[in-house]
Structure formats: structure tokens, C-alpha cells
Amino acid sequence: MSENTASPKHLPLEALHEEAGARFGAFAGWRMPLTYPAGVMKEHLHTRASAGLFDISHMQLFEVQGPDAARFLSHACPLDAAGLGEGRSKYTVLLNDEAGIIDDLIVTRLGAERFMVVANAGNAATDEAHFRAIAEDFNVSFEPLERVLLALQGPDAEAVLIAAGLDLSDLVFMSGTEPKDGWFAARSGYTGEDGFEVALPVDEAERFARKLIADERVEWIGLAARDSLRLEAGLCLHGQDLDQTTDPASAAILWAIPKAVREGGGFVGAQALGAILAKGANQKRVGLKPEGRQPVRAGALLVNEAGEAVGRVTSGGFGPSVGHPVAMGYVDKQLSEPGTRLFTEVRGNRIALDVHSLPFTPQRYHKG
């Protein structure tokens, strides 16, 4: 997450958000809707209860195409791209040579020689340069796409899309398709709810977005609620919970890297990751539940009973669905068991936190 307030990029549908009364703020170099008049609390709860519409066009789509597409992706990422079935999506990462996390990504196989990569806004330029450098050794094209990307999340998402003329009921969680020329849709999201992410050409986007928001089950949801939703769902935000100084083992996302891929070692960062795994990570990412009502924010230092430094909070705020503060952070491995009591200080007040299993709210993905 890098903030660039100098000359922010504008969402193609910005006028639609103005019309909806959005309050804007800078995020990752973009002018983004933070909240709408309903407010973060109602937006968050509405998403879990019905259907929330997010404009996430700041995120970057890349199309990977060519005879070496699968080999290229399996080298650039710790991923078995050749083994990924057509229409299947996979959460993966881009690692540097030290196994530090450059970005986290979703890769979807669209055809024998074609993949879609969805990357974080703040890292898009870094990712592109990194991918392009690797692509030089492969027979592959790697192209950014200009699209509007909308996420529709919540239990009513599938029905709303059907009513809007887009039937994606055949998709299961972590799969994707191209419903129309220039469109890409996946059953995935960043809220812990069932839902979809739909990329579409800019000139078709306003009409489609208006159709969705006209449905009484749908409300616009801003970045503030997107953050509280993902935090309750235990999902990482790159730039806070993941960065180039954290590795997949300490970040507790090894589940995203199949054992055979780890052992095969054909990806960038494999050697460093192998060394980390052989030695064991010193720290681990965990959920944290502060006692009481006072939120504990990113950057707070964690100490044990004796007051010794044992970790840090990387994301923290209030969880509207669970009704208490929620946080995430890195702690010494031996203190990573749920129920372990830790402490932090906020403005001179000592606050107790317990290591908590993630997610805080049950994930409700449509696994078919």
C-alpha cells in the first residue's frame, strides 16, 4: 500500500460514486470511495446480510497468454499453473529472492495457454516490472488490461446478478469465467462472504453498475467497510499484514503453496523459502482479540506478561459483525496458540489481547 496524494488516479465510475454521496480518500494512489451516507457500520452489516457492491477498479488485471504461459507463472509464483484446471482460480504470491512477499495475487486459468492475474493497486507497477523481467525468458505475452472491476459480495449476490442478466450460478468458490467478450468474472472476494468479482469494459460499466445498484438488495460499500470485512474474515492486506519483509511461512499462508511445489523448487524465492522452512519461522501471523472495546491499531507493539517485546499488530480496528475490536499481527512462534495472553499499550493504557483463531466470522463461501 503506497499512498500518493499528489495526483491521484480516478475511478472510471467516479461520477456514480459522487452521485451516491460517497466520501472519498486517497488509497494506493487512487481517489477511492471510503464511505457512503449509510456509514461504515451499516455498510459492513449490509454486506453480510444481503449484497454489497464495491468498486475495486484500482486493482489491476493482467492477461498472460502464450505457449509458455503455465511454465512462466509456475516460475514467477510458487504455483502449479499447469495443474490448475481450466476455470479454476488460485490464491498465490509473488516472492523476491529472499522469499519476501512482493504481492499477493489471484491467478485464474482461462484456457490451455491463457491466464488472468489480479493484483493489488499499490503494487501493480512493481508486479508488472517483476513479471515482465521474468517473461523475457519465456514465450509469453503479459499485458495489463483496462477494466472496471466490481465486487458484489453477500448472500444475495448470486440472485442479484441473475436478476441483472448475469447468471454465474455454475461457478463455485475460486473459479472464474468469461461471460461476455471483454468480461471476466470470478466467484471470489475479500469479505468472507459468498460473492463475485466482475471485470468489464469501461464503456459497458456504468450501465451494468446502475442495473446492480437499482436492485433494492444492493448498497454501495466503501473501502472502510471493505477493510473491516476482510479483517473479520482473517484476510491479509498487502502493505500491512504482508510485505517484502514477511515470508509465506511466518505469514501463515503456506496453505497457498502446495507441498509438491515447495519441494520442486522451480519458482523465484524457492531457495530462501526452503531455508526458512528447514529452520522454522521465528514469528507467525495470528488473529488478536483485544479485551474490552478499545480498538488496537496497526503498529502497536505486543509484549508478554513480563513486558518483553514479542510482536506487533499489523491490522486492527473494530469488527461490526462480531461487536468487538479485532486485530491481526505477528508474534513469536511459541506464543501463537489461540488463547495466549499478550499485552499492548494504547495512549498509556495497558490493554490485554488474546491470540484468536482466524477468521473471526465464519467464512460462507459457495464451495458447490
Binding site: G39, H44, D227, R293, P295, G317, F318, P325
Partner: protein, 122 residues
């Protein structure tokens, strides 16, 4: 007879019988968004003008509310500990933050009245 002052930091101060009641304005609560926590001072604490008296936390961030003048805290709105959303729903009423005696009421001179404050919001 009570008198209400407004600060450029979007606080209101109501003076009644020598005691000041302090809260944040409707504009401020709207800017902050849904509050989830209010950190209140201890009754009896003495504050200097500009000291942080209260911290209000929204889902995303924490913001300071400052003492408008020197004085001593005589009461805090304990209801906010269990229901911080009162500051959003009734910022000028049940969502008041604290009461204080003022060492020198003249420190409030130069603050805005309601008309000037509303005009300052543009």
C-alpha cells in the same frame, strides 16, 4: 442563561452556571463516521487549554478532542462507554463528552457563536 461557543476543531462548549459542557459538533461526528470507542478522562483531572481530554475512535481511526480552556473535570458521560454511537446520533445532546469548571472563562473569548461556526463550514 446559557451560552454556547464553537471551536475551529468542531467542538461545542455550553456554559451554564459556571460549568462548561463539551461535545463535538454534528459536522465532526459526520466526518469521523461511526464511533466504536470513547476514551473518557477521570473526574477531578485538571486540564490545560489544548490538552487532549477525550479520544474518540471510529472503525478506522482515533481522534483527539481538546480541552477548550484550563479547568477541572467535574463529570464525564459514562453512558458512552457502553454506547459510543450516542455521539453520532445526538452529538449536541445525549452524546456530550465531559463537564468542567473553568479557571478563566475569558480563555473562550474569540471562539465562534453558532452562526459564525455554521458560516465557517461553508
Amino acid at each position: 442563561m446559557s451560552k454556547i461557543y464553537f471551536t475551529p476543531d468542531h467542538e461545542w462548549i455550553k456554559i451554564e452556571g459556571g460549568v462548561a459542557t463539551v461535545g463535538i459538533t454534528d459536522y465532526a461526528q459526520e466526518q469521523l463516521g461511526d464511533l466504536v470507542f470513547v476514551e473518557l478522562p477521570e473526574t477531578g483531572a485538571t486540564l490545560s487549554k489544548g490538552d487532549t481530554a477525550v479520544v474518540v475512535e471510529s472503525v478506522k481511526a482515533a481522534s483527539d478532542v481538546y480541552a477548550p480552556a484550563d479547568g477541572e473535570i467535574t463529570a464525564v458521560n459514562d453512558t458512552l462507554s457502553s454506547d459510543p454511537s450516542l455521539v453520532n446520533s445526538a452529538p449536541a445532546g445525549d452524546g456530550w463528552l465531559w463537564k468542567m469548571t473553568l479557571t478563566d472563562e475569558s480563555q473562550l473569548e474569540g471562539l465562534m457563536d453558532e452562526a459564525a461556526y455554521q458560516a465557517s463550514l461553508g
